[in-house]
């Protein structure tokens, strides 16, 4: 029982981490109809910039690395991500107005290549660490009820909290504000949005900047878990079943999807895995998402796919 609970909690925690990455995808998709394959690259890039500046800034200023250094590095990175967003809009998106989703998807893959080359070239390709003081050791709950207690990772718990806050904030932004509405309009029809005076350029810079900020949060959390290095860009892959399960256009969907995938994945690996030789969680996550999609092709909370004649 304790083990089941641990697995469940573990799954939930991992799920929120996935959700956090998924939010990045959803954000950009919802606001511009672009499926941003460069999200992983952005995570890596932001983590890299952050890690390096967190190391450099104290050196330059001649102070101890710590909270202030980290905060300054985060600010610098945020500025960096805005610049990236601006450059992406300027050099790519602007010229791809009104193109099909798959073309845009490919363009983001191109951007991913660019970032993957640019980041390590400028900031180095060794392993760097981010230390923002996330607790690394577990705590044990209910030790009286179960032998050995139920273990919870504080780090994951914190990450989960951050994810929840971000989703709440972003959801409100999308549903309630004028800009939110405009963003959804852009996703539906670039040209019509332009024709009624929505400044695509500005909107895109905003959205990509926000996505960059989300990427930074993800980068810091995962980076402090995994170390900052190329593989960090692969965590984005883990979020893909989450986005389709939750629905490409739904922020709460990202959270629920994340939780379902997280839990499903862990339970399946722990309980079914041993029967078939293990290592099933990756495809199991996709299989799970697929099953849901067969019932709801637009994901759990996604906008209905419209076909009308």
């Amino acid at each position: 029982m304790a083990f089941f609970l641990e697995t469940l909690f573990g799954g939930l925690m991992v799920g929120t981490l996935y959700a956090l990455v998924a939010i990045g995808f959803v954000l950009i998709f919802k606001a511009s109809g672009v499926f941003n394959f460069a999200q992983g690259a952005m995570v890596l890039f932001s983590a890299l910039v952050m890690a390096r500046f967190a190391e450099w800034i104290p050196q330059w200023l001649g102070m101890e690395p710590g909270l202030v250094g980290n905060l300054l590095a985060i600010v610098v990175t945020l500025v960096g991500m805005v610049l990236v967003a601006w450059a992406i809009e300027r050099l790519a998106l602007r010229h791809l107005v009104n193109q099909e989703p798959i073309i845009l998807l490919m363009a983001t893959l191109g951007i991913a290549y660019l970032l993957d080359g640019f980041g390590p070239m400028v900031f180095g390709s060794e392993v760097y660490s981010i230390n923002v003081g996330m607790p690394k050791d577990p705590v044990f709950l209910m030790e009286s009820t179960f032998e050995g207690g139920v273990m919870i990772s504080l780090e994951d718990l914190m990450a989960a909290g951050i994810a929840a806050v971000m989703v709440a904030a972003l959801s409100i932004f999308f549903q309630k504000t004028k800009t939110g509405r405009a963003l959804r309009a852009v996703a539906d029809d670039h040209q019509a949005a332009q024709s009624i005076g929505i400044p695509l350029s500005r909107i895109w810079v905003i959205v990509w900047s926000v996505a960059g900020a989300v990427a930074l949060v993800v980068g810091v959390i995962w980076g402090s878990k995994l170390g900052v290095q190329y593989s960090l860009s692969l965590v984005a892959l883990k979020a893909l079943p989450v986005v389709i399960l939750g629905g490409l256009t739904s922020l709460p969907g990202a959270i629920i999807g994340g939780l379902i995938i997280g839990v499903g994945e862990k339970l399946s690996e722990v309980y079914i895995g041993p029967m078939v030789g293990g290592g099933i969680e990756t495809w199991f996550a996709y299989g799970l998402a697929l099953c849901f999609l067969l019932v709801r092709p637009q994901g759990l909370f996604g906008d209905k796919i419209i076909d009308r004649v």
Partner: protein, 411 residues
């Protein structure tokens, strides 16, 4: 006109394994520079060229094709990748290309009768696994009856290599072997470590690479699994794998090929003859103080020595053909004196290869992370020949049958 010998350098300085690939590549290049700085191999300068594979088999094959037939004798390939090794092993005999796979590749390729062109010098995954078990046996005072050992492995042929040996050992020592695969790249291992928490194995053998290693150690920390009960394979035992976990990884053990956690005279030479003159490959001399770097240096040394050996037979001061280099590798004989002379006295034990035995030697030691650096903590272990040799023979012969390879007669 001075003769030259070409050494192809397949490396990965980018991609997911870059953190270990960079010092490895630096080590290889630095040693060749050092040899040249000392006048080459009997006056033959080593020319070299790096080709980036990013650990991608396709790219690796392209590099191999590009470099295999250089006019001034392509020496031998250290492909740095199991996948590339698989892909080129079949081509090698036809191309007359020699493949050196120190500590990786196919374990059974130690059988020189079947694998004429492959040289898994110094050890393979079976010898590594065997050394780990020996160390554990020592800690457990000689008996593993009723113990549980988990193998947490990268879900790929690489990760599965040690299984035959471990199964054999488990049968012999009476411990239970638990196999837990981790899907590549290994950024998410919660379920694996939950299972470990549930099963409570006494030891964990970690057959990992790249990001999987730090993730495993972090998960071990997060599930409060004692790090000093974890043994990593040598590819999981670089400073880059643990240094940013720091104290959290304290106690983590890794098996080293021979004794690559040691620093020796060769490091000093590299410092004085290259880095002090600004000719080093790594960013600075600190980059030479790592296990992966030393391993690169060591591999390059073996490749160079094989050229030297070949020259002894086919003519000093001449460019060797690939076949001649292969002969050199097959007749390598580095005594302790020779190793001391080369500056590898502490790092390596004497090595002698032969037609049947392409591995040469199979010693290794265990190093432990103390929170800041790796320290060698065990004595030398030699793999148990009664365990490893039959496996090499069995798998080698099976391979020969699968691929229709004529087994050489070494008599």
């Amino acid at each position: 006109q001075a003769q030259e010998q070409f050494m192809p350098l397949l490396v990965y300085r980018t991609g997911q394994f870059a953190p270990m690939g960079i010092p490895w590549a630096d080590g290889k290049q630095d040693y060749l520079k050092l040899v040249n700085a000392k006048g080459g191999v009997n006056g033959v300068k080593i020319t070299f060229e790096e080709c980036e594979t990013a650990y991608d088999t396709g790219k690796g094959v392209e590099c191999y094709e590009r470099m295999k037939n250089r006019p001034n004798g392509t020496a031998s390939f250290d492909t740095q990748s199991t996948g590339i090794t698989f892909a080129v092993s079949d081509k090698a005999p036809g191309d007359k290309a020699t493949i050196v796979t120190t500590g990786y590749g196919l374990s059974q390729s130690a059988d020189g009768r079947v694998f004429e062109w492959n040289f898994p010098l110094l050890g393979n995954y079976w010898t590594a696994a065997d050394s780990m078990i020996q160390d554990i046996l020592k800690k457990e005072k000689g008996s593993l009856k009723g113990k549980k050992i988990a193998l947490v492995y990268h879900d790929s042929p690489f990760g599965k290599e040690p299984m035959p040996l471990l199964e054999k050992r488990a049968a012999k020592e009476g411990f239970e072997l638990l196999k837990l695969p981790v899907t590549a790249p290994g950024v998410e291992q919660k379920s694996t470590w939950l299972q470990i928490r549930q099963q409570r194995p006494d030891y964990v053998l970690l057959w990992s690479a790249g990001v999987m290693t730090p993730t495993s150690i972090r998960e071990a920390q997060a599930t409060a699994y004692p790090r000093d009960k974890i043994y990593g394979i040598w590819w999981a035992g670089s400073e880059t794998d643990v240094q940013d976990i720091g104290a959290g990884a304290k106690g983590y053990n890794t098996v080293t090929i021979q004794n690559t956690a040691e620093f020796d005279k060769v490091h000093d030479e590299i410092k004085t003859m290259l880095y002090d003159k600004g000719q080093g490959t790594a960013r600075d001399v600190k980059g030479t103080r790592s296990i992966a770097y030393t391993r690169g240096v060591m591999i390059a040394m073996l490749q160079v020595e094989s050229i030297r050996t070949a020259q002894e037979k086919f003519g000093k001061g001449k460019t060797m053909t690939p076949e001649q280099v292969r002969w050199g590798l097959e007749n390598l004989n580095l005594t302790q004196e020779r190793l001391n002379e080369l500056g590898f006295g502490k790092i390596l034990r004497p090595i002698q290869t032969s037609c049947e035995n392409h591995m040469g030697t199979d010693w290794s030691r265990i190093a432990q992370w103390d929170g800041a650096k790796f320290n060698v903590v065990s004595d030398w272990y030699q793999a148990d020949k009664s365990m490893v040799d039959p496996l090499v023979k069995e798998y080698g012969e099976r391979y020969a049958k699968e691929k229709n390879i004529q087994i050489r007669d070494c008599k």
